[in-house]
C-alpha cells in the first residue's frame, strides 16, 4: 500500500505538462430572479493518463464541472469566470463548431444511464461508424473495421453479429460497454465519466469500471471519474478531488486523502463508508444538509455543519498545500481527524 502511494506521489511530483487545467472556474445560473453561483472558483489539473476522482454529494457541482469541461452546460447555466485549458489550448471560449470538433476527438464523455445514451433507432454499428467517420479520416470500410475492433476490445461477444444489433437487444452492462466503445472511438486524451456505473447492477459495476480503466490505460486516456461513491474512487483513481457546495475543498493522491483526510468534510465522507475489514459500531454521519446554491455561507461552506468549527471559519479558506494534498480548511494543518 505504501509503495503504491509513493509511486503515485512520485509521478505527481514529477509534474508533466498538465493535460487539463481548470483555473478559477465559476458557473452561474442566471434566472429571472437573479443569478445563482453553482460553481465557485474551482481549480485543478490533470496529468496525461491520470485518473482523477471527482467526489461529492449530489448538487456539489461535480457533474457541472464535467459538463463545463466538455462544453455542454445546459442553459441557464453559463461560465462566469475562469478558464479551461486542454493540452495548452484554451477551450472554454471556443466557437461552438471548434468545440464540437474537440468533443469525441480530444475529450469524450460517458453519462450515467446506458439505457438512454444510445439512439434506440440506430444499429450500434452505425452509431460507431458515424462517430469514427466524424473524427477520423477513414473510409466506411475502415471505420467498420475499427468499430469491430472497439466492440471486441470492450468485451462484446461475437462483435460481427452484434454490430448489426439495436441498443434494445443489449443488456444494461453491455450497453454501457458499447457507450465506452463509442466514447473511445477516436482515442480521446480525456474522458469524463459521469457516474458511469450508478444505473447498473452492482455485480456489473466493478466490471465496467475495470474495463474503462484498462481501456484508458492502453490508449493513454485520462479519466475524470465523477461519482459520489468513495469506494469506487478508492479502487480506481490516482488522485481524488472533493467538492462541496460548488467548491473544491480537498484534492490529493487517493492513498493520502483516504488515509489522512485534511478537510473535516472529507473525513466525514470517508467515515460514512461501511468497511468490511474494520468493525465499527456506527457509521459516522454528517448532520444537516449541504446548502443549496445561492444559500452558501460566505466563509467556509461547510462551517454550519462542521463539528470543529472555529471563529476563523467565517472567512473563506482557499486551497492550502499539505504534503502532496491541498485542502481548503482552516484546521487542516492540525492533527488528523481520522486515523
Amino acid at each position: 500500500m505504501m509503495a503504491l502511494a509513493e509511486l503515485d506521489t512520485g509521478r505527481t511530483a514529477a509534474a508533466p505538462a498538465p493535460l487539463l487545467s481548470v483555473r478559477e472556474l465559476s458557473i452561474d445560473f442566471v434566472t429571472r430572479r437573479g443569478s445563482v453561483r453553482a460553481l465557485d472558483r474551482v481549480s485543478f489539473e490533470m496529468a496525461p493518463g491520470e485518473v482523477l476522482g471527482l467526489v461529492g454529494e449530489s448538487g456539489a457541482g461535480k457533474s457541472l464541472s464535467g459538463n463545463a469541461i466538455i462544453g455542454l452546460i445546459d442553459p441557464p447555466g453559463r461560465i462566469s469566470g475562469g478558464e479551461i485549458h486542454l493540452e495548452g489550448q484554451r477551450i472554454d471560449n471556443l466557437a461552438p463548431a471548434e468545440m464540437r470538433r474537440l468533443r469525441g476527438r480530444s475529450l469524450a464523455a460517458i453519462f450515467q444511464d446506458p439505457l438512454t445514451s444510445l439512439d434506440p433507432l440506430m444499429r450500434i454499428g452505425e452509431q460507431l461508424t458515424e462517430t469514427i467517420l466524424t473524427h477520423l479520416p477513414m473510409s466506411r470500410r475502415e471505420a467498420r473495421g475499427r468499430a469491430l475492433e472497439l466492440l471486441k476490445a470492450v468485451g462484446i461477444p461475437a462483435p460481427e453479429l452484434r454490430i448489426e444489433h439495436y441498443p434494445h437487444q443489449f443488456s444494461g452492462g453491455m450497453r454501457q460497454r458499447v457507450v465506452i466503445a463509442l466514447a473511445l472511438s477516436a482515442a480521446p486524451k480525456l474522458i469524463i465519466a459521469d457516474e458511469p456505473t450508478t444505473a447498473l447492477d452492482v455485480s456489473i459495476q466493478a466490471q465496467i469500471i475495470t474495463l474503462l480503466k484498462q481501456m484508458c490505460r492502453e490508449q493513454g486516456t485520462a479519466i475524470l471519474l465523477v461519482t459520489h461513491d468513495m469506494g469506487v474512487i478508492a479502487e480506481t483513481a490516482d488522485r481524488v478531488a472533493v467538492m462541496y457546495a460548488g467548491r473544491l475543498i480537498e484534492v490529493g493522491p487517493v492513498e493520502e486523502v483516504l488515509r489522512a483526510p485534511r478537510h473535516v468534510y472529507t473525513a466525514g465522507l470517508i467515515g460514512s463508508i461501511p468497511s468490511l475489514t474494520q468493525r465499527r459500531e456506527r457509521l459516522v454521519q454528517i448532520d444537516g444538509a449541504m446548502p443549496r446554491p445561492g444559500a452558501v455561507p460566505s466563509g467556509c461552506p461547510f462551517a454550519p455543519r462542521c463539528p470543529k468549527r472555529i471563529d476563523k471559519c467565517s472567512e473563506r479558506p482557499e486551497l492550502m498545500a499539505f504534503g502532496n494534498s491541498q485542502a481548503a480548511c482552516w484546521r487542516a494543518g492540525e492533527e488528523h481527524f481520522y486515523a
Binding site: L72, R103, A108, A109, T116, S117, L118, D119, P120, H168
Partner: protein
C-alpha cells in the same frame, strides 16, 4: 412482418363486418326501397312482387349475408340519382380526390417537417416565432376561407389559375389523371394549397413539440458529447425519433381528407368523393352512401396497415413487440 400483416388483416375483417352491418342497417331502415322505386299508383300486388323480387321477405340475417356477399364483389346496387352502378359512380370520383390529397399531403410533409425542425432548434429566435405564428393561423383558419381568398386573388383578380373543376384529364383505363395535362396541374394548385395549409401547420407544430421532447433525452446529449455535427444530431437522430407520431398523424389526416374533403371540393367544384357524398346526401342516394361508408372504412384500414408497416421500418423495437418476443438477443 408477415405476422403483423396477418394480425391486422384479421382485425380488419371484423371491423369491416361491423361497418357492413351499419351500412346494411341504413339500407334496411332508412326509407323503403319499394316505395322509392315504384310510382305512387302501384297496386299492392305490384308492391308484394317487387318486395319478393328484392328479397326483402327473407329473414334479416339472410339479407345481411347477401349484402355482405355482394359487397365483397363490389356490388352495391344502382345509384338512385343517376341509375348507374354505385361502384362505377365512386370509381369515377375517386382518382380526383386521391390525386388532390396525395399532392397536398406530400407538400405538407416536404414543408412541414423541415419547418418543424427549424422552429424547434431555433426556438426563441424571431424567425422561429414567425413560423410559429403562421402555423397558428394555418391550423385555425378554415380551408374554405383560404379557398375563397385564393380564388379571389388568383382566378378573379390575377386570372392565372382556374377557379373550379379538374381541368383536362387523361383517361388511363381505370384511372383518370390530371397530372398529365397543363390545365389539370393548374387546376390542382389552389385546392391542394387550401388543403395543405392546415396539414403543413399541423405537422410543423407536431414536429416542433416532439423535437423539443426528444432533444432532452440523454442520447442527444451523448451524441453531442461524441462531437457529431449538428445536422446529424438534429436530422439523423432527433427527427427520426419523432417520426412515429408524425407517421400516425399523417396517416390519419390522409384518410380523413380522402373521405371528407367536402368543403374544399365544394368550394372548387372538384369532382371528387367529398363532392359526391354531399350530392348523395341531398338526393338521399342510399346505395351510394352505404357503399361510400364501406369504401372509406377500407381506406382507413389500408392506411392504418401502411402506418403499422412504416412503424416496423422506422422502429426496430416494434417488430419485437408484435412478435411478443422477450428482451432477448
Amino acid at each position: 412482418m408477415l405476422l403483423l400483416i396477418l394480425k391486422r388483416l384479421g382485425n380488419a375483417v371484423i371491423v369491416l363486418l361491423a361497418v357492413a352491418l351499419l351500412a346494411f342497417t341504413i339500407f334496411k331502415f332508412l326509407g323503403d326501397p319499394v316505395q322509392l322505386m315504384l310510382n305512387p299508383q302501384a297496386t299492392q300486388e305490384e308492391r308484394d312482387m317487387l318486395t319478393e323480387r328484392l328479397g326483402l321477405n327473407d329473414p334479416v340475417p339472410l339479407q345481411f349475408a347477401k349484402f355482405v356477399f355482394n359487397a365483397v364483389q363490389g356490388e352495391f346496387g344502382m345509384s338512385y340519382r343517376n341509375q348507374l352502378p354505385v361502384m362505377q359512380v365512386i370509381a369515377e370520383r375517386f382518382p380526383a380526390t386521391l390525386e388532390l390529397v396525395l399532392v397536398s399531403t406530400i407538400a405538407a410533409l416536404l414543408i412541414g417537417l423541415p419547418l418543424g425542425v427549424f422552429a424547434a432548434i431555433k426556438g426563441g429566435t424571431v424567425l422561429a416565432r414567425i413560423a410559429h405564428l403562421v402555423s397558428m393561423i394555418g391550423v385555425s383558419v378554415p380551408a374554405f376561407v383560404i379557398g375563397i381568398v385564393l380564388i379571389l386573388v388568383f382566378s378573379i383578380e390575377l386570372k392565372v389559375l382556374p377557379a373550379f373543376g379538374r381541368g383536362e384529364v387523361v383517361d388511363l383505363g381505370y384511372w383518370t389523371t390530371g397530372f398529365l395535362t397543363a390545365s389539370g396541374r393548374a387546376a390542382l394548385v389552389m385546392p391542394a394549397i387550401s388543403l395543405a395549409l392546415f396539414q403543413i401547420s399541423f405537422i410543423m407544430r407536431l414536429v416542433t413539440s416532439e423535437m423539443l421532447e426528444v432533444l432532452r433525452i440523454d442520447f442527444i446529449r451523448f451524441a453531442r458529447a461524441r462531437g457529431l455535427k449538428a445536422r446529424a444530431i438534429y436530422f439523423r437522430h432527433a427527427l427520426r425519433n419523432c417520426l412515429m407520431p408524425v407517421v400516425t398523424i399523417t396517416g390519419m389526416l390522409f384518410g380523413d381528407l380522402i373521405a371528407f374533403t367536402l368543403v374544399t371540393e365544394i368550394v372548387f367544384q372538384w369532382p371528387g368523393m367529398g363532392f359526391l357524398f354531399v350530392q348523395s346526401v341531398q338526393y338521399v342516394d342510399i346505395p351510394v352512401m352505404a357503399a361510400y361508408l364501406m369504401i372509406v372504412c377500407c381506406i382507413f384500414i389500408l392506411i392504418n396497415l401502411i402506418v403499422d408497416l412504416i412503424y416496423v421500418v422506422v422502429d426496430p423495437r416494434v417488430d419485437q413487440l408484435v412478435r411478443g418476443g422477450s428482451n432477448g438477443r
